[in-house]
């Protein structure tokens, strides 16, 4: 059975290590915060200018001067620091953030990411996504393995404008986990009960299968 969206977030949380600085994108990635193991100390960055993002505020704590990159009201953790957009993206582009976890529209077999243009809708802009994928040490992408109409989202070539070319390190879909090395995808893990046959059938991208493939019967 495929992973649920919460299980995607839970699987992504396993990529986090003690002391990591992490940027979480809008959507499913924000749920990762619920699955960070208690014994691990992770600092969340928000690209509008802070390190040490805390949980949502209680209703009487809401502060208009304290929002995250998704423009939602947040709180600060005790170790928080604030800085300008220039300093924030110097940090991102300079490779100081350990992991960025992002959503995707399409992913290509060479690790290209397309997540800023939604077909048929007006282009609203890439925000900080291009900077994040170009700069962060490890880019983890979470997405449904297929679109609602069943069409593959992990494809040979993205036919949507790219956010970054060959930038993805790890792709976690509802059916499995792919690692990218030298812009070559390798299937390393299957969601419980998902067969190699099933994931192959539902994928357009070429990929190799790890000799250490993790496969759990449901």
């Amino acid at each position: 059975m495929p992973w649920s969206r919460n299980e995607l977030a839970q699987r992504a949380a396993r990529e986090l290590q003690d002391g990591f600085y992490v940027n979480l994108g809008i959507g499913i990635p924000t749920r990762v915060v619920n699955y960070i193991p208690k014994h691990i100390d992770v600092t969340l960055e928000s690209e509008n200018g802070m390190l040490g993002v805390g949980p949502f505020p209680y209703p009487d704590q809401v502060d208009a001067d304290l929002i995250d990159a998704g423009k939602q009201t947040i709180t600060e953790s005790p170790k928080a620091s604030y800085f300008s957009s220039v300093d924030s993206f110097a940090m991102i582009r300079g490779g100081h953030i350990d992991v960025a976890i992002l959503g995707a529209m399409l992913v290509s077999q060479s690790g290209d990411l397309a997540n800023w243009v939604i077909p048929g809708k007006m282009v609203r802009g890439m925000g900080g996504a291009m900077d994040l994928v170009a700069g962060v040490k490890k880019v983890v992408v979470l997405m449904d393995h297929n679109a609602k109409d069943g069409s593959p989202k992990f494809v040979q070539t993205c036919n949507l404008p790219l956010t970054g070319a060959g930038v993805i390190n790890l792709l976690i879909t509802t059916l499995g986990v792919f690692e990218f090395r030298q812009q070559q995808a390798e299937l390393i893990e299957l969601a419980p009960g998902v067969s190699l046959q099933e994931i192959t059938d539902k994928t357009e991208a070429d990929f190799v299968v790890s000799t250490h493939l993790i496969s759990v019967p449901y």
Binding site: S46, E47, N48, G49, M50, P55, F56, P57, Y58, P59, Q61, V62, D63, A64, D65, L66, I67, D68, A69, G70, K71, Q72, T73, I74, E76, Y82, F83, S84, S85, V86, S88, F89, A90, I92, R93, D112, M122, V123, R124, G125, M126, G127, G128, A129, M130, D131, A134, G135, P161, L162, T163, G164, A165, G166
Partner: protein, 235 residues
Amino acid sequence: MYKFRDDEHVALKDLLFDGMTIMAGGFGLCGIQENLINALFVSGVCDLTVIANNCGVDDVGLGILLRRRQIKKMICSYVGENKIFEQQYLNGELEIEFSPQGTLAERCRAGGAGIAAFYTKTGVGTVIADGKEHKVFDGETYILESALKADLSLVKAWKADLEGNLVYRKTARNFNPVMATAGNVTVAEVEEVVSIGELEPDGIHTPGIYIDRIIEGRSNHKPIEFITTRNFPDP
């Protein structure tokens, strides 16, 4: 004392001309110049090129300038949820130049810091790289991005002293400090003006050299785009 102005209209009056380029700090509706933007609206100045990360929403922030069709071109990273914007764009009345958020910030920094252009990895292999110079450093490909400057920069800070030294509050800092450096003239709107000597010299975010005029904002609504909260814990 000579930098302080009585209100937003007086502060901007002689600085505005049709066709000018204006930078405005802010991220979404956080750290925007409510009073100065209102003065822009009232002035009717038009054919503006506006450099800002976003363009407000329909009735708030830079969005209000769209009602009088004052903006000709936006240079931004994300448009936001803005129906009038979408309409004017689809009608071809409004031009947009998208710049990735970090590149946008860095281009403004370059403008203020005497850097003509810089090589960045951001956008390589995307439409953003089209037509730009590519160059390989240490085996990695970079693209050349150029500086941005403005005739006028509008910034919002928490406190200013009369010298123009500014302190921002939390994530309302965002693009404000960099845009303060890249305007030919920079006007700051603050919540409180304090005496010289009240701000800690080690804690000043924008030195007064960058600030030409200051107003104390008459209204500080500070609207919030998305209020997200958690429940109070059980007692």
